[in-house]
């Protein structure tokens, strides 16, 4: 944005807004890299799929092209307005600006990438989807992880073609530039269904957590009661999606079947999780005969297998209520995330409206992610 600026020598007695030591060096569990243009994946596609992309293109699960189901209210197209690079490219597509606004500003130790580009994971033509997912993985390495080793990739797969998804996971396993496997949370069926077990088993067998980042569409209505009218209405539907995933994974017995499966819920908030667990526990006591494969209470499975990221953080009317929420979930299961460069991103200096105990702060900003992803 072009606007005149008058810069005067600051008064040395005035505090500037540089982050304090307690907000430096954190691990950011949700960073979005974007493409500079529609052809960024082309170098990583075979001739066969490049031709397909040029002549046929993607088959998404929504009826709209070149826009999302719920366009964002911000004139910045759902992005932080000040994250648009001067060259006019998309926010998140410019590594130097990402360094300036996030990685260097906060001396970020690691940034967990969540690429929402390319359409591979949600592509209806699963062969093209798998090719685009693979291309996205190569693109992450070439454009982000190799130039800046603080950035850790998320393995993209199209879960509707399990054999290809498993092959991709096995190909990337052991490559420490990737931290986890990214699966769209809005699938054709709830994630706990048996058709998805082989892929989840491959993740666990290769010691890769599964991150479920909100957004996108499965083609089903995004709420159990039909399509929302407003983005404001769609945004909290992310919570419903996360609740569906957690409930499905628990009730189907996935955590009995795959005892070392680790699930990370990204961008779905977290204040809802304790209440869901209370409800699941209550009914489990009465309905055990229907789900005899559940050996432990749902809340125990959730605590042992599910991590949450903070953004978009809840802002309770009484800020101190946040402490109760964290205590109920367990501060060892909460990991800080910014969601840079999205419009609803959180700043580590101001996200929590209440001071956290030092031990919780260390865990949430750094130690939990460090342990989960086995980082140095």
């Amino acid at each position: 944005m072009n606007m005149p600026v008058l810069d005067r020598t600051p008064d040395p007695t005035t505090q500037n807004d540089r982050p304090g030591a307690s907000h430096l060096g954190f691990i950011d569990c949700d960073v979005h890299p974007y493409v500079k243009g529609p052809n960024d994946f082309d170098p990583f596609l075979s001739k066969r799929w490049l031709e397909h992309k040029k002549t046929i293109g993607g088959r998404t699960r929504q009826g709209l092209a070149k826009t999302s189901m719920y366009p964002r209210m911000s004139p910045g197209a759902g992005m932080r307005m000040d994250s648009w690079p001067k060259n006019g490219n998309h926010p998140g597509s410019d590594l130097p600006l990402m360094r300036e606004q996030l990685l260097d500003l906060f001396d970020v130790a690691y940034g967990l990438l969540a690429p929402l580009v390319g359409g591979g994971p949600g592509e209806r033509n699963v062969e093209f989807g798998a090719a685009m997912a693979t291309a996205c993985n190569e693109w992450q390495l070439a454009n982000w992880c190799d130039p800046d080793p603080r950035l850790l990739g998320a393995i993209q797969v199209n879960i509707e073609w399990p054999e290809a998804a498993i092959a991709e996971i096995e190909k990337r396993a052991g490559d420490r530039r990737f931290a986890q496997v990214n699966i769209p949370p809005r699938g054709l069926e709830p994630l706990g269904r048996r058709r998805y077990w082989p892929v989840l088993e491959a993740c666990a067998a290769n010691d890769l957590p599964v991150s479920l980042h909100l957004g996108g569409t499965s083609g089903h209505a995004s709420t159990g009661g039909g399509w929302p009218s407003f983005y404001h209405e769609e945004h909290p539907s992310y919570v419903q999606t996360m609740q569906t995933l957690v409930t499905s994974l628990v009730c189907e017995g996935v955590f009995e079947q795959i005892p070392n499966l680790k699930i990370v819920l990204v961008e779905g908030g977290f204040a809802w999780l304790p209440a869901l667990c209370w409800r699941l526990d209550k009914h489990w006591k009465r309905l055990k005969a229907e789900v005899p494969h559940l050996k432990r209470s749902p809340s125990e499975y959730v605590h042992d297998h599910v991590w949450v990221t903070t953004q978009p953080i809840e802002e309770p009317e009484r800020p101190q209520d946040m402490l109760s929420i964290l205590e109920w979930i367990g501060p060892e299961r909460v990991m800080f995330s910014t969601d840079y460069p999205h419009w609803d991103q959180d700043d580590p200096r101001y996200a929590f409206k209440v001071p956290l105990p030092d031990e919780w702060k260390r865990k949430i900003y750094r130690e939990n992610a460090k342990a989960l992803y086995k980082l140095d």
Binding site: M3, V5, L6, D17, D347
Partner: protein, 137 residues
């Protein structure tokens, strides 16, 4: 409190703004219908550069389906989370009772008066013929 000359009046046309740094504070100076206002360039929510956001109207709807654009050009929308503030007062639209962006006193003074002082104008050349925007910090 000191009065700082931060711009010539014709530098900031109606609907425009200029970001100035005075005593270490970034302040957005806005021209709203030839009245000048100053807001701290820091959103009280999460510290975003508030004054770099979009200048918008206030959209009200007394009833669903009955939409009215009011006060055109008098609201600033934060570039991060889209909280809207009254440029004239810094009052928050979404939480008017407990959230406020700090507003600064801004006045227009003739160069003739400024030459006599006491004003700080190290970055703006003051001449007696022009009018100037002066912010008190």
């Amino acid at each position: 409190m000191t009065r700082h000359v931060v711009a010539r009046v014709d530098e900031i046309q109606p609907g425009q703004r200029k970001i100035v740094t005075v005593r270490g504070r970034e302040i957005g100076i806005f021209n709203v219908g030839n009245d000048f206002f100053g807001l701290i360039n820091r959103c009280p929510h999460q510290g975003a550069p508030l004054c770099r956001g979009e200048v918008v109207s206030r959209l009200v709807a007394p009833m669903p389906g009955d939409y009215r654009l009011t006060r055109p050009g008098e609201m600033i929308r934060c570039p991060w989370h889209c909280w809207e503030f009254d440029i004239r007062t810094g009052q928050s639209l979404c939480d008017p009772n407990s959230v406020q962006a700090r507003a600064f006193d801004v006045a227009v003074e003739p160069g003739k008066a400024l030459v006599d002082g006491p004003f700080v104008a190290e970055s703006v050349q003051v001449t007696v013929e022009e009018n100037y925007v002066v912010v008190t910090v």
